[in-house]
């Protein structure tokens, strides 16, 4: 009768047990990978012949940008699951993930700015990719604020889920609008992430460590924050019982 699918972890009790085990593991993996990736990348790779050592910023820029987008995607899925299946843990997952995503956008934007100034002469430019990141930052901030504006947890989950869903739809729409827009015109020089993926192997391996490290860091933080949310709900439940 008990199904052994991933849905059994939507039970908060089971989730807490799982989290208890996974949190230290993920934490250690994250720590090791990030430190490896960053130090290897910084100290042991040669300087790029064109950009000098500056290209090493990709070791923080690429993972953070990658996560900034994918965390929002995860929030979209979690919001969808909440609206359809009403698993509380799903809504909590999205709520927990948002601040981490926001942190990632900060890192991505600032590291990009540091990279941009010496390389292309400017901290910021209103090209599609950067504008998209600015919009993403605003989406994250709005989402987080909306959670704080409503006390009743289910209603807050509903409102924020709708916001996230519509935001994702708009993000997709904008992406295709820009692609459509660029088709007739020449591809302008943009701070494209694709360029970095074509870098030589010697740069690529530390980048892999860095990306994996950041992903595990996200999972580590996500589990901690979700557990905190569950505890908070428990406290509220107890207080309500005491209040009666």
């Amino acid at each position: 009768m008990t199904k052994n699918s991933i849905w059994e972890f939507s039970n908060p009790l089971k989730f807490k047990k799982l989290a208890g085990i996974l949190i230290p593991i993920f934490g250690i993996i994250a720590f090791v990978c990030v430190i490896t990736g960053l130090s290897w990348g910084f100290f042991y790779t040669p300087d790029d012949y064109k950009q000098g050592p500056l290209v090493k910023i990709i070791y923080v820029h690429v993972p953070s940008a990658f996560l900034a987008i994918n965390i929002y995607l995860m929030m979209f899925l979690a919001s969808l699951i909440w609206l359809i299946r009403r698993h509380h843990l799903s809504a909590l997952a999205a709520k927990a993930a948002a601040p981490v995503g926001l942190a990632m956008t900060f890192i991505a934007i600032v590291s990009g700015a540091f990279w941009g100034k010496p390389t292309w002469g400017t901290y910021w430019v209103w090209d599609p990719r950067l504008t998209a990141f600015a919009i993403l930052t605003l989406f994250y901030i709005g989402y987080i604020i909306l959670w704080t504006a409503e006390d009743e947890p289910d209603k807050a989950a509903d409102l924020t889920s709708i916001l996230c869903l519509v935001g994702s739809v708009f993000a997709l729409l904008s992406r295709y609008a820009v692609l459509f827009w660029n088709q007739g015109l020449h591809q302008g020089a943009s701070l494209s992430l694709d360029k970095e993926k074509n870098v030589a192997d010697v740069f690529y391996q530390p980048l892999l460590f860095s990306i994996i490290g950041f992903v595990f860091l996200f999972l580590f933080l996500l589990l901690i924050r979700m557990r905190t949310e569950i505890w908070t709900r428990q406290i509220n439940a107890i207080q309500q019982k005491l209040g009666k």
């Binding site: 504008t131 919009i135 604020i145 409503e150 209603k155 739809v169 827009w181």
Partner: protein, 209 residues
């Protein structure tokens, strides 16, 4: 429903004109770039006009209890909200579009660009109203909703704004450039009109449980 908004319409228009005047004075009138800010200023002010006049779209009905009645009525809530958004567009954006030629004199916008500007406004501003009704549906029952709603809604306005302004370009004048942009504005509006009433209805229902 929409005819009680006529007071809002005049207020909205006066707001628009006032802000344009004041903002324009904030720029250096003698600089050679002054005329270039016209379209941008018009779009941004239109945006603000829509945003600031939208917060009571749902809240008034909520306060006097008619929102509950709307839920029970045989007309689907999605349609009601869509009509509200549409009425809002008629009362706020349409006057702005109509007065655009007059305002454009302030910035000596060339006729061709003015045409693109007006068509762009026509195609793009309905999206603004529909996005606003989504914002209203999510925030009408929250405290401090009047400051919250603009914060939530602004990012959604950015694509429409960017494309609306971009196509009113003074140097590139290929037809394809303008048509592509207008198509995008239309796409954003059509998507908003088809999807957002459903999302807004969800928001209203979850607040009224």
């Amino acid at each position: 429903m929409s005819f009680t908004a006529n007071g809002t319409a005049i207020l909205g228009l006066v707001f628009f004109i006032t802000v344009i005047f004041v903002s324009a004075l904030g720029f250096d009138i003698n600089s050679t770039d002054f005329n270039l800010i016209g379209p941008s200023l018009i779009w941004v002010t239109a945006l603000l006009s829509v945003l600031l006049s939208a917060k009571n779209l749902i809240q008034d009905d909520f306060r006097d209890g008619s929102l509950d009645l709307l839920l029970i009525s045989p007309i689907p809530l999605e349609l009601v909200l869509a009509l509200k958004a549409f009425a809002h567009w008629i009362s706020i954006s349409l006057p702005i579009i109509l007065i655009c030629p007059v305002i454009s004199v302030l910035f000596t916008i060339p006729f061709d660009n003015l045409i693109i500007l007006i068509i762009g406004l026509f195609l793009g501003t309905p999206a603004l109203s529909f996005i606003a009704i989504l914002g209203a549906s999510l925030t009408f029952s929250l405290r401090r909703s009047s400051i919250l709603m603009p914060i939530l809604i602004m990012p959604f306005y950015i694509p429409t704004l960017v494309f609306g302004v971009k196509i009113v370009n003074f140097t590139e004048n290929t037809n394809e450039y303008h048509i592509n942009g207008l198509l995008i504005l239309l796409a954003i509006t059509l998507l908003s009109m088809s999807v957002l009433p459903f999302a807004a209805a969800m928001g209203v229902k979850s607040c009224l449980k």
